[in-house]
């Protein structure tokens, strides 16, 4: 569904992405793992077209994403740090996104809005929100339009345990509907019951892209955190 071929991106001398090639197919839940600054967010942003890669190309459903914008209608993106216009209220942001993106014959998926009880906060200004509430808004927006692909950058960072469980249940639910889910996270223990594949990156390079079962077999560990720790030790 998403194919990246030889994608490179430099920020000055820093190589954020170094010749990355990756294929992501439908129905998988893929974890993007790697140390801080290894290029996870840059990879995600290049898939979204927010970062323009220097060389290589990315295709979405067979179409090159450069100079293309319609494909983003199939993506729900939850940023690492959600930044919204400060003087708009939650209600206004939700309405604006529905206005810009919503189609008439499709009912928006407001399950998360209800479960996070954002309905009670509709009149609150975005600038006055706590980090966690902001994350809830980001999550609700990502799932709002029933996208085929979900890209979640550190989805549970800053969320309380209850909300975190709600979000995880929602992710599993969507994955079972056959959607592609891309997650980055540093809390490996909570990825265990979500993911089916692992992409491990280091210093802008792709170290491996494996099925979780293969990874467990190779390392002899059942827990993802231990398996990854073993791989990191070897490197």
């Amino acid at each position: 569904m998403i194919i990246a071929s030889n994608v490179s991106k430099n920020y000055g001398r820093l190589k954020a992405l170094d010749n990355i090639s990756v294929t992501c197919v439908k129905g998988e839940c893929i974890a993007l793992i790697g140390p801080n600054g290894c290029g996870k967010t840059t990879l995600i942003k290049s898939i979204l077209g927010m970062v323009v890669c220097d060389s290589g190309f990315i295709t979405f459903n067979g179409n090159n994403i450069r100079h293309n914008w319609k494909y983003r209608a199939h993506i729900g993106y939850m940023p690492q740090i959600g930044r919204y216009p400060e003087n708009m209220t939650i209600g206004q942001v939700l309405d604006m996104m529905k206005d810009i993106r919503g189609t008439k014959n499709e009912v928006p998926d407001e399950e998360l809005v209800e479960q996070f009880e954002l309905n009670k906060l509709l009149k609150k200004r975005m600038g006055a929100l706590s980090g966690g509430t902001r994350q809830k808004v980001s999550a609700a927006l990502a799932f709002l339009f029933n996208p085929d692909v979900l890209i979640l950058d550190e989805p549970t960072a800053g969320l309380d345990p209850v909300s975190s469980e709600i979000l995880k249940a929602k992710i599993i639910n969507e994955k079972n509907k056959g959607k592609l889910v891309l997650i980055t996270s540093h809390i490996l223990s909570e990825l265990d019951d979500l993911i089916s594949q692992v992409i491990y990156m280091q210093e802008g390079k792709l170290c491996f892209h494996k099925n979780i079962i293969n990874l467990q077999d190779e390392t002899g560990e059942v827990k993802l955190s231990k398996a990854i720790a073993q791989v990191m030790m070897k490197n």
Binding site: G49, I75, I100
Partner: protein, 255 residues
């Protein structure tokens, strides 16, 4: 595109600075027209104030607004929208707000007190200047990632067009006083939209006699139909070129 322009304009109105700017312009123009017994004289005083305030406010406000909308732009870029649509909506929203503020603040009093050819010229150039300096501000904001740098550039640009440019022209005129520079001066004026607007209005006022021989050359050129059309084309180029350059930069920008 319409939807995004709508949200930009709602956001600008909520910000209230544009309303304050409109009120300030309105206050200045009504005061000046009431102070002078002759409305034509009032127009001359208004000219100098407008040529300072309009570029400054249009450019500073737009630059700060674009930097403060970084979050909004980031949010929109991850949605199924063309970057071109986002940037043009931002530009059109700002241009419409600044032009409307000028029209209500200065245009309406001009039409009430001095609805002559000079008045109309001032209205037209004022509207164009508002949009030109929005375009220049957007170019500065697209080029410089750092907010302080971008706003610094904007202030320098304003200083350049309002003061430094005239100083340079004077310097060249005195240094090369022995040579016939009148024709070159006509061309040099095209490099500064503020000066071009000032000359277009002054020539309508018949005070060009005060500008000596150069004034006569200006009148020969800008007084004609061709000169007038050409001048407006130059002013519109001042909108299109910075606007297009900023769009090109924004299309390749990493957010």
């Amino acid at each position: 595109m319409k939807k995004i322009i709508k949200y930009v304009i709602i956001d600008i109105l909520r910000n209230k600075i544009v309303l304050a700017y409109t009120a300030l312009l309105l206050l200045i123009s009504i005061t000046i027209f009431n102070l002078e017994d002759n409305a034509a004289k009032g127009l001359l005083s208004l000219l100098n104030i407008i040529l300072i305030i309009v570029p400054l406010v249009s450019m500073l406000f737009s630059a700060i607004y674009v930097y403060n909308s970084a979050e909004f732009v980031e949010l929109l870029v991850s949605q199924p929208l063309k970057r071109r649509t986002i940037w043009l909506s931002l530009f059109l929203g700002l241009a419409a707000s600044m032009a409307l503020a000028f029209f209500i603040g200065a245009g309406v009093p001009i039409l009430l007190f001095e609805a002559t050819a000079t008045g109309f010229m001032m209205l037209a150039t004022g509207l164009l200047l508002s949009v030109i300096f929005v375009a220049l501000a957007m170019l500065a904001a697209a080029m410089a990632r750092d907010k302080a740098k971008g706003i610094g550039v904007v202030i320098l640009l304003w200083l350049f067009f309002s003061i430094i440019f005239d100083g340079l022209i004077l310097f060249i005129l005195f240094q090369f006083a022995d040579y016939p520079l009148e024709k070159i001066m006509v061309a040099a004026v095209a490099l500064n939209p503020i000066d071009l607007s000032r000359i277009l209005i002054l020539l309508k006022m018949d005070v060009s006699a005060l500008m000596s021989y150069t004034g006569a050359v200006f009148k020969d050129f800008f007084g004609t139909q061709t000169g007038l059309v050409l001048s407006f084309c130059v002013l519109i180029t001042w909108i299109i070129v910075p606007g297009w350059l900023s769009l090109r930069r924004f299309n390749k920008k990493d957010l």
